[in-house]
């Protein structure tokens, strides 16, 4: 039986209209997720990873940014064609979201109970006050907030950074979503707290079969949390595949360079491998492959044509002309 994937993003295009010109922030992104999958969306700042997520949830800053093409198939529907009202019932209930800075996503003047209870209230999911209280306590326990009863009447400022982020996760989980989109959820957390939070995400996935899109710039986090990875560069996915495959033997020169540029703990190399130059200016991107000016495998052809993303023999996908010419692998 062939089943449609849980989420299928096809040729998504989101452009930003600025005074200086049009920025193709998301430029033809396609990927599919199954139930229980966790996809690591990696890339540097400006690569379009957050814009991809915001496009899926239709949370773009308007009118500056607009999705101009593609489809986001979720549960048999194209999210891009839904009315704003229908979309509102998708957000939070079917697809949850966690943002980077938990302080920004919590309201400082409402209690924890109030904020965690909001998704239940909005949906009319609680029969009574005491039922609501139980539901709130349940999700707080699910994200391991210690002694949640005592915490209900507290305000966000009384919580530590790790607890705030777990509270945000509790709110996202309140609707039992089938997919959770987490945009750099641990960037503001300390390593040991980050480790706790990523463990929590894995645990919740195992319990509920929820799929996860984790946006990060840290390949280490991807290796530990995800089973699939999409590497983005200048608005495009340049490599997509199984985490083990991609991290162990990267196909795209950009993925390869990113991995090589990381310091290896415990070995004091004199110099790190460095990727020359800087990411391209998206107002004026290179005519050919966007990575060509920084690429150590660049050929003449790379200057002229944008490489299409192609499936390789081992099942993963990569967008590189050198691969087709058989130069890598």
């Amino acid at each position: 039986m062939t089943q449609a994937p849980l989420l299928s993003v096809e040729d998504l295009r989101t452009y930003c209209y600025t005074r200086a010109g049009v920025v193709k922030a998301v430029d033809g992104v396609s990927f599919a997720l199954e139930r229980g999958d966790s996809l690591g969306l990696v890339g540097e700042s400006g690569s379009g990873k957050s814009m991809t997520c915001n496009s899926i949830l239709r949370l773009l800053p308007r009118p500056a940014a607009r999705t101009v093409g593609g489809r986001v198939l979720w549960d048999g529907r194209d999210l891009l064609t839904l009315s704003e009202r229908e979309m509102r019932s998708v957000r939070g209930r079917e697809i949850g979201m966690i943002l980077q800075d938990p302080l920004m996503s919590l309201n400082p003047v409402f209690t924890i109970a109030n904020q965690v209870g909001e998704p239940f209230r909005l949906r009319g999911a609680a029969k009574s006050r005491s039922d609501l209280r139980e539901k709130v306590l349940d999700v707080l326990r699910q994200v391991h907030i210690p002694s949640p009863e005592a915490r209900l009447s507290q305000y966000p400022f009384e919580f530590s950074g790790g607890m705030r982020q777990r509270t945000v996760a509790a709110i996202a989980l309140a609707g039992s979503p089938g997919l959770l989109i987490a945009d750099e959820p641990t960037t503001s957390l300390d390593v040991t707290i980050q480790d706790q939070f990523l463990r929590l995400l894995r645990e919740l996935q195992e319990e509920t079969g929820m799929a996860l899109i984790l946006v990060t710039h840290d390949l280490g986090i991807v290796a530990e949390t995800c089973n699939k990875v999409a590497v983005m560069y200048a608005g495009k996915i340049v490599e997509f595949g199984d985490v083990r495959q991609v991290l162990r033997s990267p196909a795209h020169p950009y993925t390869e360079a990113l991995l090589k540029a990381l310091p290896v703990p415990g070995t004091r190399q004199k110099r790190l491998y460095q990727i020359p130059g800087e990411p391209p200016n998206l107002l004026d991107p290179p005519a050919g492959c966007a990575f060509e000016p920084r690429c150590h495998r660049a050929m003449q052809a790379c200057k002229n044509a944008r490489p299409p993303i192609k499936r390789l023999s081992d099942g993963r996908q990569a967008a590189c002309l050198a691969l087709e010419a058989g130069e890598v692998q």
Binding site: S45, S160, V191, I193, L247, A261, P263, P265, R268, L272
Partner: protein, 343 residues
Amino acid sequence: MGTILELRDVKRYFGIRSGGWVGGGGEKPLKAVDGASFSIASGSSFGIAGESGSGKSTMGKLILRLDRPTGGAIEFEGRDIGKLDAEGDAWYRTRVQAVFQDASGSLDPRMRILAIVAEPLEIHARTGPNRLGKAEIREKVEDMLAQVGLPKRVMDNYPHELSGGQKQRVAIARAMILEPTMLVLDEPVSALDVSIRAQVLNLLSDFQDRYGLTYLMISHDLATLGHVSSQLAVMYLGRIVEIGDTEEIYERPLHPYTKALFRAMPLPDPNRKKSAPSLRGEIGSALDIPKGCRFCPRCDEAMPVCSAVDPELVDVGAGRQVACHLIGGSQHTKATHQRGSNE
């Protein structure tokens, strides 16, 4: 190699008024740095690791003389920096410079790059015997920008016109323009993208080779510290809990907190099996430091003695010091621990 910087039992307590809106209540000390001693060899790189609240940035400020210790002494090139007069202060600032995490925050948005990089020269070469003319300053700035890998034309740019990596290069150029002997680097690459991070770290390494600079790098990122530093101190709640040769600490961390930090460090290796959770709970408050060992409430290997007696840094050989009852303690405490862990 001589010692360039030495800290002896340095403390920084902040007085925090407790209770009462207007006056009243008692003063309670917040112990941000609670007795730190170490020395840095000239021309080497020293790393300070720790989470937020560990006191590592306060330590950086004390060394930069942006803040004064409430106890202990800091000696730089043999002079006590707590006892510098105005002239001594000027001397110190030409010797020790800083690069911080957020280059956008440390560069004045209304100054052009030329003015930003030239400012230290203008301040310090204005009074000295080697007063510089405008043309000389411009020439020096040009040369320094070239050394950090920036084109001449950025001199006329404003900070917002540069990328994050370029801004951090400007910050490094400004720190280097007075030809200091030591740089304090507080999270210098944390805000940068991976592909830019390697460039900046290589640049710092080149400068060290070229000028024999001493680095003090403060970071939460053990991978970066491991790459840069030859000596490493791990801080927890104002105390150094482990200090020694970086490579040896990576090979064999001894303090349970250091071990937990390594376990929590995400590595891009999909085959790495994650063992037990790295650490439970969160770092405590420096206002209310746990009795005994301050790491004890989060420690998996805690013994009864840990919640009663504050462990001292003990020499365990090969230049390593650890503050933990499990290590270097008496045979008696070790035996109790073994019994404890079997149960």
